[in-house]
């Protein structure tokens, strides 16, 4: 029954149990590849994708170019001592909100519209559905972020000149940032799958991004000094800064470490989401 060849001759016990009708279209088991193709169709056929990614690109370009042009007009000589690439930070920080939104909506819109029941009826393997969503979303978010970050960095370097950046700096400021935002988006996807409510999940994720810094602002007491330092060092804005080599503190994760941390966190939450999805009623 599962083999594609010659349906007319399949008179196995299963075929008998399922009834006398045999489809002329050959049947083969569905795969993760099928699910990825399906998710790609889904993500490209809704306006939310164009909106969120479009806004992100626009934000990164305007903020990145704006700061570069302002600095160029201000000191007429660029910033000789700071690496120019770090200017991309502001655009990426704002753009991360868009990636979070798209990540949550990738699964949240299915719950919001009831589409999830249709999807999980068509593909009862919930792990496969979530994996396909994660692959398609992460690839898209990574590609768009990396390309935009690279364009912004190149333009900023052209406008300001500044100190020459190493190849590793360039890699972290483009591919690294792209991967980091994709991983942050995957975390949002996982949270969206667990919460099943778009607005709730987006709020949670914005809280995750902003709250540590805001909390740290109010921790003046000496006894909280350690907590404050931890919150600042591991806050997502500071981690993005670390990818650019500009952090608020001297210690804490640096280089590629923030990316590793975010990937581990996203993997853990997605794994939890699969486990919960498998147990839960839809």
């Amino acid at each position: 029954m599962t083999t594609p060849a010659t349906p007319r001759h399949q008179q196995g016990p299963d075929a008998g149990l399922l009834g006398s009708y045999e489809s002329p279209i050959p049947i083969r088991p569905a795969t993760l590849g099928d699910a990825v193709a399906s998710e790609w169709t889904k993500i490209r056929s809704v306006r939310a994708t164009v909106w969120t990614l479009g806004v992100m690109v626009a934000l990164m370009l305007t903020v990145g170019l704006g700061t570069a042009l302002l600095l160029a007009a201000d000191s007429s000589g660029g910033m000789p001592d700071e690496p120019v690439l770090a200017l991309g930070f502001f655009g990426v920080l704002l753009g991360s909100i868009c990636v979070i939104t798209l990540g949550v909506l990738t699964i949240g819109s299915e719950y919001g519209t009831g589409m999830i029941r249709t999807t999980l009826t068509a593909c009862p393997s919930r792990g496969r559905v979530l994996a396909a969503k994660a692959i398609v979303f992460a690839a898209l978010a990574f590609a768009v972020t990396t390309v935009t970050a690279a364009v912004v960095a190149a333009l900023q370097t052209l406008i300001l000149g500044g100190a020459p950046a190493s190849a590793d700096d360039w890699l972290r400021g483009t591919v690294g940032v792209g991967l980091y935002l994709a991983a942050l988006g995957l975390l949002s996807l996982g949270v969206g799958a667990i919460v099943r409510h778009s607005a709730g999940a987006i709020t949670i994720m914005i809280g995750v991004v902003l709250l540590p810094l805001v909390l740290a602002l109010f921790m003046f007491a000496d006894r909280l000094r350690g907590v404050q330092r931890f919150l600042i060092e591991y806050s997502i804005p500071n981690q993005i800064g670390a990818l650019y080599g500009t952090t608020m503190t001297e210690s804490g994760p640096s280089g590629w470490e923030p990316l590793l941390l975010m990937l581990v966190l996203a993997a853990a939450v997605l794994g939890g989401a699969v486990a919960i999805l498998n147990r839960r009623d839809v």
């Binding site: 399922l18 489809s23 939310a48 589409m115 593909c123 009862p124 009623d281 839809v282």
Partner: protein, 400 residues
């Protein structure tokens, strides 16, 4: 072939589906009937592996749904027309579902044509009417050319032409040898479409039999008997005589008697035998829809407060016949419906432990109170032979 065994689903204290066992066979349209909230959709969701049963299991072709290697190619389902992302075009919606099962894209255009949505395929489904949404859902179910099809309320929101089309589609799919399982709360619709009926109420199986059997077992034919108004004596005499002969007697608002379980000539003979004149002796046949409502009346969860429908179904007086004027009637039958309007659930053999107590209809709902029934408590067992024969195994269980 769908097979449910002891299927149970509880949400906290509420039991949505209670020890449901049934089989849905290929080559026929099987109607799945029950009032709102009786557990039809929950059962459908459990069949499709969306909800996990609290107890029991359900298989399709011998496999649990979630173990099927390519579910849409074996089972097509229309759950609710809302299961669509409104921002996506009809074609892209179906394309994404087709790709999920490795179905070629050409098939998408094919099913769009089958359901008549080819002209709006590029439009976003948010603007679709309820009927168009139903057609889109049916297209999704047909996409994989499956052997088993489940439709949850497929005619909701369809125009008469659409209803006619769905009716023929179901019959055609079944004629091709597929298993077709259709839920509805419209008895009249099912009477035209289905070959077999599974009726549930409050999550329990009420009836599992062919439509013809269901009609003969549940249509509740009765005879109206009117005797002269010159005092209760004649009525009393006749009632006692009828009950003695195995009939069941109810009173109607106008004072007429509603007799079931006895053929008309026999009633006439009995009246003659006890010297009672008859002013009226007429046969009446209740509609199938009324029979269905009788079957489920005690099990309706959501009822308007003025209870208009129950009033329509049971135009009987509040006071039981004879109780007002001291007529020494035999005690009222405890289970008015059992063996008469409601065949007992056919499951006990399979799941004896949880076999439902007498009948949910008896314990639930206030409606039967208005329906004063006098007759020996064994009357249920001596149901009219034709109904017993027609109901087959179900009724035979009642003759304990």
């Amino acid at each position: 072939m769908i097979e449910a065994v002891g299927l149970t689903k509880r949400y906290g204290a509420k039991t949505a589906v209670d020890d449901l066992s049934f089989q849905v066979r290929p080559g026929a349209v099987t109607g799945f009937l029950g009032p709102n909230g009786s557990g039809k959709s929950t059962t459908m969701r459990m069949i499709l592996g969306l909800d996990r049963p609290t107890a029991g299991h359900v298989t399709i072709g011998g496999h649990p749904y979630r173990d099927l290697p390519n579910a849409p190619r074996q089972v097509g389902a229309l759950l609710d027309a809302k299961g669509v992302h409104g921002g996506r075009s009809a074609r892209n919606h179906l394309l994404s579902l087709a790709q999920l099962a490795g179905i070629p894209a050409a098939r998408v255009d094919e099913v769009l044509g089958v359901v008549g949505l080819q002209d709006v395929a590029k439009q976003r489904s948010r603007g679709f009417s309820l009927g168009m949404g139903q057609r889109l859902g049916i297209a999704a179910a047909l996409l994989g050319d499956p052997q088993v099809l489940l439709f949850d309320e497929p005619v909701n929101g369809l125009d008469p032409e659409g209803i006619h089309w769905v009716r023929n589609l179901m019959k055609m799919l079944a004629a091709e040898g597929r298993t077709v399982f259709v839920s509805s709360h419209l008895m009249s619709e099912m009477a035209l479409t289905a070959d077999h009926l599974i009726v549930i109420g409050r999550g329990r199986l009420l009836s599992d039999m062919s439509v013809t059997d269901f009609i003969s077992a549940n249509s509740a034919d009765f005879a109206r008997v009117r005797v002269p108004d010159d005092g209760p004596g004649e009525r009393r005499k006749l009632t006692a005589s009828l009950i003695e002969a195995g009939g069941r007697v109810m009173t109607e608002p106008g004072g007429a008697l509603r007799v079931t379980g006895l053929p008309l000539p026999r009633i006439s003979d009995l009246a003659h035998g006890c010297g009672v004149r008859l002013w009226e002796l007429s046969p009446h046949q209740a509609s199938l829809e009324e029979a269905y409502m009788r079957l489920t009346q005690g099990l309706v969860d959501y009822r308007s407060t003025d209870d208009a429908k129950a009033g329509l179904v049971e135009p009987l007086p509040q006071d039981p016949y004879g109780s007002a004027d001291g007529f020494a009637s035999p005690e009222p039958v405890e289970v008015p419906q059992e063996g008469w309007y409601a065949p007992p659930p056919p499951v006990p053999g399979r799941a004896p432990a949880a076999a439902p107590a007498p009948s949910p209809a008896a314990t639930a709902g206030p409606a039967p109170a208005a329906d004063a029934v006098v007759g020996p408590s064994s009357a249920a067992a001596v149901a009219e032979p034709s109904s017993a024969a027609a109901a087959g195994e179900q009724t035979s269980k009642d003759l304990r």
